[in-house]
């Protein structure tokens, strides 16, 4: 089911030490709820991203549980404090066991 899944992340290239930056993430995913039926009346099995996490230099920034009511192509926007130069690591967990990852470095200006 995991076709056409593509994570996207937008993080500023640099920030001042201690600055709160805005991070935007988007992953293209069907987010099949498990509530719908196909044309023959059979239930289409649930297939969603069930968890999203963001870590900065090994420290957790945000950990989100996603539920079936969340619509297709889930988008998150959140703020994070940047105490030092480092790397943001993003992870999406799919119902089918797949894990999608992306990472963005950030420098201190």
């Amino acid at each position: 089911m995991a076709s056409g899944v593509k994570p996207r992340v937008k993080v500023p290239k640099s920030a001042a030490a201690g600055e709160a930056i805005t991070i935007k993430t988007l992953i293209s995913h069907n987010m099949e709820s498990g509530q719908r039926k196909d044309s023959d009346g059979n239930i289409i099995p649930r297939s969603i991203i069930n968890r999203f996490t963001c870590d900065f230099n090994g420290q957790n920034v945000i950990d989100i549980t996603l539920e079936p009511a969340i619509s297709t192509n889930p988008y998150f926007e959140f703020e994070a404090l940047v105490p030092e130069a480092g790397e943001f690591k993003f992870t999406w967990y799919d119902d089918d066991g797949d894990v999608y990852e992306d990472a963005k470095p950030i420098a201190i200006a």
Binding site: G4, K6, R8, L26, S71, T72, N73, Y75
Partner: protein
């Protein structure tokens, strides 16, 4: 004929008390670089309207904001998909779009002049018909259905590289009779509700029709990502929705009637920028 200034002022005053706020004075700049003309003087052929507005003007602040940055515009997901298709080989000739056109950016400005006359075929062509002509005759590939997923992705890609270019559809010469036919359809009342396009989009833009804030029905922003169905929507599919809502039997996408109507409605937006893929509700 009508005092548009007065009507706009009244509509704005009514909006202050309405729940669906829209910033009608806002300007649209995408990614801090592409300036979009969202209001312009009406083209000379429009007799009843002085100023034309992109549908973006009529949307709520939140919806407007989604179009300001490509990352926030969900329609760009399908533009990316279109770019992949652009570069992939299909059909018996072993060609992709890129084999002839190099990059999508080489086709910047193309979307702005469609629908237009094709001399060799002797017909008015929408950009979707032209894409299919390439697929069939140059690539030896199966044509896509009008407003199908692949087709809308490609149209969205072609629109995205033309953003900021003013719509400039020709209405004279060989296309004139088709244009007249489109105009005829625009002003013809259809369905049990006996509504023409003009009843809503010319006489009542800016007003509410139940929960919807009526726009001028401009198509410069197509293909459009609609929040209601979370996917790209084509012009002729949208026409179908409108005609259906008048409780009439709609023409089908790709029919001569809708090709004529697309030409006419596109010409009503001459002067606005190409904006697709836009975000609407």
């Amino acid at each position: 004929m009508k005092n548009t200034m007065l009507r706009t002022a009244v509509a704005a005053a009514a909006l202050l008390s309405a729940p669906a706020f829209a910033d009608e004075d806002a300007n649209l700049v995408i990614n801090d670089e592409i300036e979009i003309t969202v209001r312009a003087a009406a083209p000379a052929h429009m007799e009843n309207v002085d100023e034309i507005f992109s549908g973006w003007v009529f949307r709520s602040d939140e919806t407007q904001a989604m179009q300001v940055d490509d990352f926030d515009n969900p329609g760009m997901i399908w533009v990316e998909a279109g770019a992949e298709t652009f570069a992939s080989v299909d059909g018996s000739e072993g060609k992709s779009c890129a084999s002839c056109h190099n990059s999508p950016e080489d086709l910047a400005g193309v979307k702005a002049v469609y629908p237009k006359w094709n001399e060799a075929a002797g017909e008015v062509r929408t950009i979707q018909m032209q894409v299919n002509d390439c697929r069939e005759n140059r690539m030896g590939a199966e044509p896509w259905k009008i407003d199908s997923g692949d087709m809308l992705n490609m149209e969205a890609l072609l629109a995205s590289v033309s953003r900021g270019v003013p719509v400039n559809v020709a209405i004279d010469g060989p296309v004139q009779s088709t244009w007249e036919q489109g105009k005829e359809i625009y002003y013809t009342r259809f369905g049990q509700l006996e509504l023409s396009c003009a009843n809503c989009h010319e006489d009542n833009y800016g007003n509410m029709i139940r929960a919807d804030h009526l726009s001028q029905g401009q198509i410069n922003g197509f293909p459009t990502y609609r929040l209601k169905n979370a996917k790209l929507n084509g012009v002729q599919g949208r026409f179908k929705g409108c005609v259906r809502d008048t409780r009439a039997e709609p023409f089908s996408a790709g029919s001569p009637e809708f090709i004529a109507l697309e030409l006419y409605v596109a010409s009503r937006g001459n002067g606005l920028s190409v904006e697709g893929p836009s975000v609407r509700n």
